[in-house]
């Protein structure tokens, strides 16, 4: 049994403009895919392709208009059990917007723990310290507030919060897209390590092909709400020549000025 299974998921948004009636817009159309435990699926596509909507549907935050989302064999929108809420976590792009500025790092990371697990104060404290070390920070940082961290450090706090409940799946919604190149490499390393040591599965939503290739085992391309390409391995993705992969590759900028195309 696959960890996650999407069956013919479709979704629409009503185009709500004040006092104006407009046609509904289809954002996802008949999307089916599966994800095995401990693997990473790279979900690529341009802005507006429906990537983040799909992410929200996987998190149980938005019931699709049609289709089923099975997690561990259970339909998350139909079954009475809400265990999936502990088992599926998320890391967003904008770490500053993803935390409460009035809480300390410790309080931020403790939130899912107090929601889902009953830990004694001592056990909670130990767990928090352990999580900080797991994401490459120090237990002394637990008393700091979000504004005292850099973007890269705060993203580590968000990752610590995501892994706190020992989830099986983490949705990474553009989780490295706004980091500079140094931090991006460091966070990708951290995510790769956590995946291996904790056996995590990821859905890595991104428009950054290089980042996707650094972490993912399988790739899909979403375009205007439809899955237009599926590549079961890194090799099949890097050797694919269809128009969708081409479009992504052509948008990638030159690494070296010798190969630049915008300025000649």
């Amino acid at each position: 049994m696959s960890l996650l299974q999407l069956e013919h998921v479709s979704h629409r948004y009503g185009n709500q403009r004040f006092l104006a009636r407009q046609a509904e817009q289809t954002v996802l159309q008949d999307v089916s895919l599966t994800l095995e435990a401990g693997t990473c699926l790279g979900l690529l596509g341009r802005s507006g392709a429906g990537k983040s909507t799909l992410g929200r549907i996987l998190l149980g935050l938005e019931r699709p208009k049609a289709g089923r989302v099975l997690f561990d064999g259970q339909d998350i929108y139909e079954s009475a059990s809400k265990d999936y809420r502990k088992d599926i976590q998320v890391v967003f792009q904008d770490s500053f917007a993803a935390v409460n500025p009035k809480l300390t790092a410790g309080q931020i990371i403790a939130e899912p723990l107090t929601n889902f697990l009953r830990l004694s104060p001592d056990a909670l404290h130990d767990r928090l310290g352990g999580l900080m070390i797991q994401v490459g920070l120090s237990a002394t940082d637990l008393t700091k507030y979000p504004h005292q961290f850099s973007g890269g450090q705060l993203q580590r706090i968000c990752i610590a919060r995501a892994i706190a409940t020992n989830p099986k799946l983490i949705i990474l919604d553009e989780a490295v897209s706004s980091l500079d190149m140094v931090n991006k490499a460091l966070i990708l390393d951290l995510l790769r390590n956590l995946k291996e040591t904790l056996g995590l599965a990821y859905v890595f939503i991104t428009h950054d092909v290089q980042a996707a290739q650094a972490l993912s085992d399988r790739f899909v391309i979403l375009d205007q709400g439809q899955l237009v390409g599926e590549y079961p391995t890194l090799l099949s993705f890097s050797e694919a020549t269809d128009e969708h992969v081409q479009a992504i590759r052509q948008a990638v900028l030159a690494i070296h000025p010798r190969h630049r195309t915008i300025r000649k």
């Binding site: 500079d180 190149m181 428009h207 990638v252 900028l253 070296h256 000025p257 630049r260 915008i262």
Partner: protein
């Protein structure tokens, strides 16, 4: 070639504790030249760009040095005169197009306001110039965009509107601070393409600030590498990528996937 913008020994520090943010940096921009400023988050790139327009709060931050725009030292100008320079002779493109526009006015209102603040002209003339500017960045249906509010446009479209806005007054210098960081890769390439078009058409000098060495590789003639408020190395873009001198530049290039002396396979 005579530089359009010449920065001499610019130093920026906090007044409260004298903490240096930028230390003694000097560089020049010539007409039609793109100079890339590259470095990690927090190294002083944005504070430098704000200092060039004297936009830093002078109660909190002290800056010294000289900033020559053609024959004028911007450090000596009054606030009133500076306001004419900003937007008129030096334009600024910011990282996040979503927060750079006022949410409560239409795009057309904001474009026409900018044009009429600097050049005396009728509303009608301002509107025509705004439409013309939007056409230059290939935005479809420019008359509809004039009537739109910022939230109705995508980030990529807004960033193209921002280029139109920056360029409609034909500035000599354009400062672009991470202009594509908030965009997806498709829109990134499009926005860079229009920046290059502006440079080629109007011979605009561009200071392109980015942490992304690919953006620098695509666009720059000359590169400044900044670390902890200091320029550790500056060189022609090809020399910098092929023969980086400073260990920090080598480290950045290695992380970027370029080994000194050639490309990694």
């Amino acid at each position: 070639m005579k530089p359009v913008l010449s920065v001499e020994q610019l130093t920026i520090e906090t007044i409260a504790d004298g903490q240096p943010l930028v230390q003694n940096i000097s560089f020049q921009l010539a007409a039609g030249q793109i100079v890339g400023l590259v470095g990690e988050s927090g190294c002083g790139k944005t504070v430098t760009s704000l200092a060039l327009l004297r936009l830093l709060d002078e109660k909190v931050i002290r800056q010294s040095g000289r900033i020559w725009l053609d024959e004028t030292d911007l450090m000596t100008l009054s606030d009133r005169t500076l306001r004419r320079v900003r937007g008129g002779q030096i334009a600024f493109i910011m990282q996040n197009p979503m927060s750079a526009f006022t949410p409560v006015f239409t795009i057309g209102h904001q474009l026409m306001e900018t044009i009429r603040t600097h050049d005396r002209c009728s509303k009608r003339e301002a509107k025509d110039r705004a439409l013309e500017a939007l056409r230059e960045v290939n935005l479809e249906q420019p008359d509809r965009i004039l009537k739109a509010y910022p939230f109705e446009l995508s980030g990529g479209m807004l960033q193209r509107v921002m280029i139109a806005l920056a360029v409609c007054l034909r500035p000599h210098v354009l400062i672009a601070d991470e202009p594509t960081t908030a965009l997806d890769v498709y829109n990134q390439k499009l926005v860079l393409y229009y920046l290059e078009k502006v440079r080629a058409t109007y011979d605009t000098a561009i200071l392109l600030i980015s942490h992304d060495l690919s953006v620098i590789a695509e666009m720059a003639d000359h590169v400044l590498v900044m670390r902890d408020g200091e320029i550790v190395e500056q060189a022609n873009v090809f020399d910098l990528f092929d023969r980086p001198q400073h260990p920090y530049t080598r480290q950045l290039l290695a992380q970027h996937g370029v080994q000194a002396g050639g490309m990694k396979a």
